[in-house]
């Protein structure tokens, strides 16, 4: 009897434990990403297919309020200015729920885009469907897609969010350079600290 009890307890514990093993949802490198149709800060709808002469897309989930995202604003502008003429435009997407994060409302996005003169699309993923499908968890979170929307790189922009001047490795730029040169991307996935995406409360 005692043995059965111990066994049962162990079995329950094991099952409980296994439930905590997370399943990484969303895209991995090599998956084909879906296109989307989202509202830009200019109140017009945009999709990837409609971007003329694109050889790929630098999709960046980002937002207004997060200090990590703010720290990267100027670097994201510079990335777009450097790579859009080569066929790799930045497409920024704000996935945050405006109730959970009031600073990340559409009006907040328009204001930021105006102030910083964003040269790239800054789209609003109001339903959060795109962030969920892509598997984005934080801001900023980068997905580099090729012309056929195959995911070629996921992760960080570079290795130092606080100080752009102290960056040692520009992971994203290396990936775009390799992609545009038709070479293998050496580092396909990196991690960075970011603000958790503020998901809408479902109840």
């Amino acid at each position: 009897m005692k043995k059965t009890l111990v066994f049962l307890t162990l079995a329950v514990a094991l099952v409980a434990w296994s439930f905590t093993t997370p399943v990484h949802e969303g895209y991995h490198v090599g998956d084909t990403a879906r296109d989307f149709n989202l509202m830009n800060v200019d109140k017009k709808m945009y999709d990837l297919a409609g971007i003329p002469d694109a050889k790929g897309y630098i999709v960046i989930f980002t937002c207004n309020h997060c200090p990590y995202a703010v720290a990267y604003q100027d670097r994201i502008i510079a990335l777009h200015n450097k790579y859009a003429p080569m066929g790799y435009p930045v497409v920024a997407i704000n996935p945050n729920d405006k109730t959970a994060s009031p600073g990340d409302s559409f009006e907040g996005m328009q204001k930021r885009a105006r102030e910083k003169k964003f040269p790239f699309l800054y789209l609003y993923d109001e339903t959060q469907e795109i962030a969920k499908t892509y598997g984005a968890t934080r801001t900023p979170h980068v997905y580099l897609l090729d012309k056929s929307r195959v995911v070629r790189y996921i992760g960080a922009i570079d290795d130092n969010h606080e100080d752009a001047g102290a960056v040692q490795e520009r992971y994203l730029e290396s990936a775009i350079d390799a992609l545009s040169a038709g070479q293998e991307i050496t580092l396909k996935e990196t991690k960075a600290i970011g603000c958790t995406i503020k998901w809408r409360k479902t109840q």
Binding site: A71, E162, Q168, A192, C195, T196, I197
Partner: protein
């Protein structure tokens, strides 16, 4: 007179107004906590002083520190704030909130090199929490805001795990 001095001394020593020092640590400290030979269950919470969901869950961690005093549980709040904010934001925050749990600043610049040290499951979003004790075979990771119940369940389960 002597008595007064003694009282003064006692007050000074026991005075809770003396704020804790926020130590700067490197990522190898995370590995040391994870590989520790002690029976201590480490509750490592990765947070930042401006992070709303992090601040919202802080009371739960403080409650663990209070209610598990005397037990082999150690809550460590690992700040991932910007380095330039440690003196003018993080330390004043720790003082203002009178945090009892130990607070350290993770003094690292390349997250890609240390995030996996905490947990390969971690994508990098904060808040995040690792509950770990090698000698108990416990290693549970959460990449989300925790409420007290969820946190305590994990801590209690960790403490119940037999020492090896």
């Amino acid at each position: 007179m002597k008595k007064q001095l003694l009282w003064g001394l006692l007050l000074a020593v026991g005075c809770p107004l003396v704020a804790q020092e926020v130590a700067y640590v490197k990522s190898d400290q995370i590995t040391r906590w994870k590989n520790s030979d002690s029976d201590t269950l480490y509750v490592l919470n990765f947070w930042a002083s401006w992070c709303a969901p992090c601040i919202a869950e802080l009371p739960a961690f403080e409650r663990i520190t209070r209610e598990y005093a005397g037990k082999p549980v150690k809550v460590i709040l690992v700040s991932t704030d910007f380095r330039r904010d440690v003196e003018k934001k993080v330390k004043p925050f720790v003082r203002r909130k009178k945090l009892k749990s130990r607070v350290v600043f993770l003094d690292e610049t390349t997250p890609n090199k240390w995030i996996d040290l905490v947990s390969p499951e971690w994508t990098g979003a904060i808040p995040a929490t690792l509950i770990v004790c090698r000698r108990r075979g416990v290693e549970r990771f959460f990449e989300k805001q925790l409420d007290f119940e969820a946190l305590e369940n994990a801590v209690a389960a960790g403490l119940n795990a037999p020492l090896r």
